[in-house]
Amino acid sequence: MVQFLLRRLLVALLVSVTVLTFAFALTRLSGDLAISIAGPNATANDIEVVRKAYGLDQPLITQFFSWIGRAMVGDFGQSYFYRERVSTLIFSRLPITLTLGLVGLGIAVSVALPLGVISALREGRPIDRVISLVALVGQAMPSFWLALVLMITLGLNLGWLPISGTGTWQHFVMPGIVLSFSAIPALLRLTRSGMIDAMAADYIRTARAKGLSRMSIVLKHAARNAAMPVVSIAAVQLGFMLGGSIVIETVFALHGVGFLAWESISKNDFPTVQAVVLLLAVIYTLLTLGADLLNALLDPRLRAQ
């Protein structure tokens, strides 16, 4: 168990270092960063000033280690565009993205779990087919398009929900629905297959033999066992959703981290882009680490390994 934990931690640490390197290399793709920052109308003199100001005249290796050193203590420098500290900027936007992610996950879980259980209990029957088909259709819809369609129908035609912005909780419903679509198929399939396996297990036969009600067998015995892998996949999906929220935040004008990332990409604001890439990668790594730990805690069989 301890060895498993240490190994997992080491991998998480190595991944973080790799992503640090990757985020640095990413912004050097364009060739000369100073020209990009100075903008299209800059003179040669302006470019030199920019180069000095941002330390881009230093050797690459010096820049790299100074980026790593500062990133380790949470200092990502000054945003080129907002003239604000990148870390302040990100942390002021983070609550919106986290809210959106959690709302999306909440919707996804509350749709996928019951449907997955129903599907498993009616395996091969028409209702199972219909649920699979619906999941397949949901998976095929481009998120940004679904967002626009919901804006037209729920927002404009029915007037139920606000179309963009972040004022009230209602503002998070539509984006949450759209975001949940990316996680529902995976969660649904996993619940279904988990439930099918669980219902065929020996302890279910025992429970049946004891004469327990069907309801109690399904909810207390089978669903609990089927839920375990779902928990860890849900954590992974939350990580993916936070990364995918960039599209949805842009469409709905939710000023979270994703919107910030999109703005900074279109404004050549590299320090912010680097920091968001790193932040999302670290959050994902922590979530998967947490999911592994949780699994190890919940499942004695894993702990023994």
Binding site: S30, P142, W145, T285
Partner: protein
């Protein structure tokens, strides 16, 4: 159970085949130039609505370009991106997975680590950043997505290789004195292709959706190319008055991706039953 899953496979194959047909023969199928603007004929609705006509069966966009012609040319972009990305990421991912699964030990640790690191990198964000930095073009989009979407190929190829390498025919090949490259390419690879085919459909669908999202955000293929994602982005300002401008390209995307996924699911069922019998 069987006939229905077969039906899915056929519907999926039909959708993908039909889109491929549109993509290949686009120049022969359209009656209008997809790039020709005519500001006097802007936002004509499709034929089933009032004021629609058969000159422009799916209407025209905000610049007066024929929507059907743009839609058919858009199939080219989606299919091209989907197939090229699938091939690029498939080669990369399969190579990594097979090498990791075959050699094991340190090499496998490295492959596993690469997969873990890749999964932690936010896909859309990095793709957007790369396209913004390098410049938007079809080649850049394919290269970026190809370099990002190999993870599932690697995962599946690795596990399949681990299973295959312990089988008797591989041992027989070793005993017969075959070279390592012969065993990898001639014995292992052909036997892991069927699970990889299923992954290929998934990745193709994902690549098409990602390209549409990138183009929608303005950092995919550059205008005036008629990418379906770009068509939605350009028509967005008019969607509250004429919803069909986003419905036509959006539904096309959804139907194509749905078809690819049906094909993938059908293949999976077909291969699974094939294995047990």
């Amino acid at each position: 159970m069987k006939p229905v899953s077969k039906l899915g496979l056929w519907i999926g194959a039909f959708i993908v085949g039909f889109t491929l047909f549109l993509a290949i023969f686009a120049p022969l199928l359209v009656t209008h130039d997809p790039f020709a603007q005519d500001l006097s004929r802007r936002l004509i609705p499709p034929f089933w609505m009032d004021n629609g006509g058969l000159t422009h069966p799916l209407g025209t966009d905000q610049l007066g370009r024929d929507y059907l012609a743009r839609l058919i040319y858009g199939a080219r972009i989606s299919m091209l991106i989907g197939i090229l990305t699938m091939v690029a990421s498939g080669l990369l991912g399969t190579a990594m997975g097979v090498i990791g699964g075959f050699y094991g030990g340190r090499i496998d640790d490295f492959v596993l680590f690469a997969i873990t690191a890749r999964l932690s990198i936010p896909l859309i964000l990095v793709a957007l950043a790369v396209v913004a930095l390098v410049g938007s073009s079809l080649t850049v989009v394919v290269a970026t997505l190809g370099l990002l979407l190999w993870d599932r190929f690697a995962v599946v190829a690795r596990v399949a290789t681990m299973q295959v390498r312990t089988l008797d025919f591989v041992a027989a090949a070793w005993a017969a004195g075959c070279s390592r490259s012969h065993i990898l390419l001639r014995e292992v690879l052909p036997n892991i292709l069927s699970p990889l085919a299923v992954v290929a459909t998934l990745e193709m669908a994902l690549a098409i959706l990602l390209e549409a999202a990138l183009s929608f955000l303005g950092l995919g293929v550059p205008p005036p190319l008629p990418s379906w994602g770009l068509m939605i982005a350009e028509a967005k300002d008019y969607m509250f008055f004429s919803p069909w401008v986003i419905m036509v390209p959006g539904l096309s995307l959804a139907v194509l991706v749905f078809g690819i996924n049906l094909l993938g699911d059908g293949l999976r069922d077909l291969l699974r039953t094939g294995r047990t019998t």
